[in-house]
């Protein structure tokens, strides 16, 4: 196994895109999966949710699971904890060892702490709207930017 390096990972595909296949009814939903020969530590995870006109309060959450069909529950679940209304854009940052904000700062920015740990291969990081607001005809748009400390593979 090689040493650590920091990598940038981005998913800014639009609409109902879901990198591992759609979960029925949930519009804002994206996942990043740790490759089979890698270990990941999340240094920073930035999510931008642009809510479409469909009325409803979005509630962003971030989870980590083991990607096992026999064990589908999350092992880590972090809620943004603040609602986002229709037709707004909000910027969520998930990073280790920060204080949690309970209201948007600068009108549109929220930060939440996450566990500081190394994720085994195949772990799935998911960011989604728990409230399941939106339609496929007028989808919300969720962009992810992850800064990952990675080891394993050929470097």
């Amino acid at each position: 196994m090689s040493g650590y390096r920091t990598v940038y990972i981005s998913d800014s595909s639009t609409g109902v895109d879901d990198t591992t296949g759609a979960i029925p009814g949930i519009v804002a939903n994206k996942t990043l999966t740790v490759p089979t020969d890698r270990y990941w530590r999340i240094l920073s995870l930035r999510a931008t949710l642009t809510a479409a006109a469909a009325v409803g309060n979005r509630r962003v959450a971030m989870t980590i699971d083991r990607n096992d069909t026999a064990d589908t529950e999350a092992y880590v679940e972090v809620r943004a904890g603040v609602d986002q209304a229709a037709s707004t854009a909000r910027y969520y940052l998930f990073v280790p060892n920060v204080d949690r904000l309970t209201a948007f700062a600068d009108t549109d920015w929220l930060v939440n702490p996450i566990p500081d740990m190394e994720l085994p291969p195949n772990s799935v990081i998911r960011v989604f709207d728990q409230a399941n607001i939106g339609t496929t005809g007028a989808p919300d748009d969720l962009d992810l930017r992850a800064l990952i400390q990675e080891r394993g593979g050929k470097g």
Partner: protein, 143 residues
């Protein structure tokens, strides 16, 4: 004993329990990275209080060395999600109607240590449902 750490997943979703424990194996050292517990309370009227403790499992010393309280009660017929991890912000009221985060110490636990998550009120041991998901940084043993 290997010095290299790796993160492992542990789960206990056995039915009808409000008190669950995990013991560090004799040839391992564990650091708790994340603990998620989901408590579904029965209709027995009482306020539940989730607590996490760590003790060395010594017969002459049964008190916990770590004692973390959720600090928020959970009434009957509800499902709450509790997320413990080092670096969490402690929330003093339920967020998103059913979610709470609580801090943990960043400590490597010796072999034999017992991690216990339970309802300190013991409101309904036979019908409450407590599911636990652990992410552990483990070292030792044979990889």
């Amino acid at each position: 004993m290997s010095i290299e750490s790796r993160t492992i997943y542990l789960s206990d979703t056995t039915a009808a329990s409000n008190d669950k424990s995990f013991t560090v194996p004799t040839n391992r050292l564990w650091t708790l990275k994340a603990v998620r517990c989901v408590l579904t309370s029965s209709d027995t009227v009482a306020n539940r209080e989730i607590q996490l403790t760590v003790d060395p499992a010594l017969t002459g010393d049964t008190l916990p060395y770590i004692d973390i309280r959720a600090g928020v009660v959970q009434a009957a017929s509800l499902t709450y999600y509790y997320q413990f991890f080092h670096g969490a912000s402690r929330i003093t009221t339920i967020a998103d109607t059913d979610w709470l985060s609580i801090q943990l110490p960043d400590a490597e636990l010796r072999p034999g240590s017992v991690i216990r998550i339970f309802d300190s009120v013991d409101a309904d041991a036979s019908s409450d449902q407590l599911d636990i998901k652990l992410m552990i940084e483990s070292r030792g043993g044979t990889i």
